[in-house]
């Protein structure tokens, strides 16, 4: 009874995007995903033949910085195509509908695409006072979130809020804001941390998921390996100065002008896994360390309560730093409860990503 579902390519063409632009988009996506020379064909083929995967984008307790980052993706073509592709079937910030009409669209999309849509979540649910600190359409956000997750294919946790809790979860966490994996237990969740995540990382992740209909390879903490497998420090352009023991001592001092290392100013680059030092921000213009300020580690769990942002790291050695993200993740998941949660998440994700269990971080 159902009419054949539209492919991404149908949607893209309907939006007036040319074949040439489409091919260019496929190459860019393939490059950003590290798919190699034949990748563009793979991406194009998938987009031409697979039915479009609807994406529902929800906002909880948050500041909308993730949306802001997303719509500013460096390549306007990427942004256009991704927006047309996912159509943001429901997104609070930019959609046309208002009020109960918007809620109706949400419910309709949920029923029509039951088990087939991707739920992208920006922000997180506060649990105190039965969720009263974030009321959306007359109901606690947490209720709506769990309901929408129940019928989804998979969930994307945008940013530090949805992934870890972020600053609203900082002590004393007045609203008991929690990462979404504390309330969504039955679906694979891909965490895309950062405050906000880098635009190209966001378009890369969403591009991968809607192209291939599954999650990319994840690390033990649920982050896509292709963007979160290296420390900022590993690829920092100031790294030679760290190794040479040349440090900035004061803001805008002589060392700062020479581009010395910001370790003594509290830089958390050595313990932060993110793509800032390679992909950079605002279309590759810069990133915090390039602005002369240390990294605050905004993609790491608990970055908001690890002492001052300006305290020097004391747990790194100058040479031979040989822990990887998964090992650090194991240490972080110290309590039994957290350990179980991580395990449950990983198991669910494996089912979807089809990853080789025996080599979790090859």
């Amino acid at each position: 009874m159902d009419a054949p579902r539209e492919t991404f390519y149908d949607v893209i063409r309907r939006q007036g995007i040319s074949r040439r632009s489409f091919v260019k988009f496929c190459s860019l996506t393939a490059a950003s995903l590290g798919l190699g020379a034949s990748g563009a064909t793979t991406v194009a083929n998938a987009l031409e033949t697979k039915p479009r995967i609807p994406v529902i984008w929800m906002h909880g307790l948050e500041c909308t910085c993730c949306s802001e980052s997303f719509i500013r993706s460096a390549h306007p073509l990427v942004k256009d195509v991704v927006l047309s592709m996912i159509s943001l079937d429901y997104d609070d910030t930019i959609m046309a509908a208002a009020g109960h009409q918007a809620d109706a669209i949400l419910q309709e999309t949920r029923q029509k695409h039951k088990g087939q849509y991707i739920l992208a979540v920006e922000g997180n649910p506060p649990l105190n006072e039965n969720g009263m600190y974030c009321i959306d359409g007359g109901r606690p956000f947490v209720e709506k979130l769990v309901e929408m997750a129940d019928d989804s294919l998979a969930v994307i946790a945008w940013g530090a809020c949805a992934s870890w809790g972020c600053v609203q979860a900082a002590k004393p966490n007045p609203t008991q804001a929690v990462p979404i994996d504390k309330v969504i237990r039955n679906k694979p969740i891909i965490k895309v941390p950062g405050c906000p995540p880098i635009a190209e990382v966001m378009t890369g992740v969403v591009g991968y998921v809607v192209t291939f209909g599954r999650l990319p390879e994840l690390d033990r903490q649920g982050r896509p390996k292709m963007f979160y497998s290296q420390r900022i420090h590993d690829k920092c352009y100031r790294r030679p100065h760290f190794d040479a023991g040349q440090f900035v001592e004061e803001w805008d001092d002589e060392g700062a002008r020479k581009g010395y290392c910001l370790y003594k100013m509290g830089c958390k680059g050595p313990t932060t896994y993110n793509a800032c030092s390679t992909t950079r921000w605002n279309g590759g213009v810069s990133f915090p360390i390039q602005s002369g300020h240390g990294c605050i580690g905004c993609s790491e769990d608990g970055f908001w309560d690890k002492g001052s942002f300006y305290d020097r790291l004391t747990n790194i050695s100058a040479f031979g730093i040989e822990a990887n993200a998964d090992q650090i993740g194991m240490v972080a998941a110290g309590t039994v409860a957290a350990g179980l949660a991580v395990h449950a998440g990983v198991t669910a994700v494996r089912k979807l990503s089809g990853r080789d269990d025996h080599h979790p971080h090859a």
Binding site: M132, S308, Y310
Partner: protein, 483 residues
């Protein structure tokens, strides 16, 4: 009398709900609710003062630089330091880029799409406006988003990233741009001018900044009809729908003064009294935050002495926002207030007689874009790459200070108390807290609640576009409102 609930609102930063009492097809009373609370004022207590610089931008993903600027200003006052000229210019440039980006997002993505609603089908402009501004599908977003992304390279170059940049310090900015980067800034600001002059205004910036009165504005709208321009398209709609009569506000208008990096602010500070047409100084000591209608405990207090204690079961309360009052009165803030206080003749003329309104708010915002873009060109030219961008700011163990700045949406204040080298108290009043404040202990509604009264909704009730126009004309930022 019927009671309607409008919400959740889309195309608004954060969550927003309205409750309207409607009688005889018009709004008789309005209550606005901020249903989202995070508790930043409590989270900041007990932390090292300068950590506020990394936490407060995260109050808001669209006004993050404004929040940084207010925190830096408060710490600067506490420490008693003055940034070198380059630091002030760099901060103003980044702040201006964010504010213009916000104004443009508001116009293109949040405000104009409401004219594509079905109730306007049949208006002579409907088809053209729908093709241009319909949410997600219209052609305007494709023009705006790349231009806006390029504009925000200004923040990238000067401060590393946007949003949530870290480079703004009490002593200046951490990035000493070199000559090459200065040239990139010149090019980026030139690209902004090109977008504004070709797409938004279809006219030179100087001509827009010089529009002197409503007659000149009308002439501009008509002259532009042959060559296009989104601003003129809006003006023609505004004439057809009489937006000057919509969303009237009669409160005073306040500005803390904007862009102070060069010493004298670009737009001066003050409070404009519409009854007398006079501007008086802002008496910061007369600010109180009333919590009568908020799910918060405590009586009215000056922000330097106030606290934030949730009381979710409080009877009679209807949101998380406090109700700030200046000398006991609500005041309207924003681009219109800034331009009126600064004495821009066009802005004064547009509110003359009936008070602030939807047309005046939108026109002031866009004319401000032109004025600030022109200032950015001067500021880039004044940067001196050889000179310092930052000065030493010694830590302070005990102090109390405030940081008062102008965000895109209006007056933003941070009040900090430092004891034993830690934050002992931190209070924030953001622009939308002023504009969308709930009722105070005397039952006086906030500016939006007042402006909605009398709005004709007809048969459409809560679905009437007029409600959307009034609410959006203030450009609400709800995540900042209750923070």
């Amino acid at each position: 009398m019927t009671r309607l609930v409008v919400g959740p609102f889309n195309r608004v930063e954060g969550d927003l709900e309205l409750t309207l009492d409607v009688a005889d097809g018009a709004v008789a009373a309005a209550r606005v609710s901020a249903p989202l609370f995070r508790g930043f004022e409590r989270i900041l207590v007990g932390r090292p003062p300068e950590d506020a610089l990394a936490i407060v931008p995260r109050i808001c993903g669209i006004c993050s630089v404004s929040q940084s600027m207010a925190a830096a200003a408060a710490l600067r006052a506490a420490m008693g330091v003055t940034p070198p000229p380059n630091g002030g210019l760099a901060a103003d440039l980044a702040h201006a880029a964010e504010n213009i980006a916000d104004h443009l997002s508001h116009f293109y993505l949040f405000f104009m799409p409401d004219f594509c609603r079905a109730e306007y089908a049949g208006r002579p402009w409907f088809e053209a406006i729908t093709a241009r501004f319909k949410a997600v599908e219209g052609s305007a977003a494709g023009d705006l988003l790349p231009a806006r992304a390029r504009l925000l390279h200004v923040v990238g170059i000067l401060a590393g990233k946007w949003p949530h940049a870290l480079a703004f310090r009490p002593g200046g900015t951490t990035r000493a741009v070199d000559l090459g980067e200065t040239m990139r800034l010149v090019a980026t600001v030139a690209q902004l001018r090109r977008f504004l002059e070709r797409t938004l205004f279809a006219a030179p910036l100087d001509a827009v900044a010089a529009l002197a009165d409503p007659a000149a504005l009308n002439a501009f709208a008509e002259a532009s009809s042959s060559r296009g321009g989104d601003f003129a398209a809006f003006l023609r709609i505004a004439g057809d729908l009489d937006l000057q009569s919509l969303g009237r506000g009669t409160t005073a208008l306040m500005s803390y003064g904007a862009y102070r990096g060069g010493g004298e602010p670009l737009f001066r500070a003050g409070v404009f009294d519409p009854a007398t047409g006079e501007v008086r100084p802002v008496a910061g000591a007369d600010i109180r935050e009333d919590t009568s209608s908020a799910w918060l405990a405590g009586g009215p207090a000056h922000p330097a002495e106030a606290d934030t204690h949730p009381a979710p079961d409080k009877p009679g309360a209807y949101g998380w926002s406090k109700a700030p009052r200046l000398a006991g009165e609500p005041v309207e803030v924003g681009a219109l207030a800034r331009q009126v206080v600064d004495g821009l003749p066009l802005a004064r003329a547009l509110i003359d007689g009936g008070g602030s309104n939807v047309l005046a708010r939108v026109v002031a915002r866009l004319v401000e874009v032109a004025r600030v873009a022109l200032a950015m060109e001067r500021w880039v030219g004044a940067l001196d790459p050889g000179q310092p961008f930052s000065t030493a700011a010694p830590p302070v163990s005990d102090a109390a200070a405030d940081g008062l700045v102008e965000a895109a949406r209006g007056s933003l204040g941070h009040w900090i108390t430092i004891q034993d080298g830690e934050i002992a108290r931190y209070q924030i009043i953001s622009p939308t807290t002023w504009n969308f404040s709930p009722r105070d202990s005397a039952g006086v509604p906030g500016p939006l609640e007042q402006a909605l009264v009398g709005t004709a909704v007809g048969e459409r009730g809560a679905g009437a576009a007029a409600i959307q126009h009034v609410v959006r004309s203030f450009d609400p930022c709800m995540v900042c409102t209750a923070h």
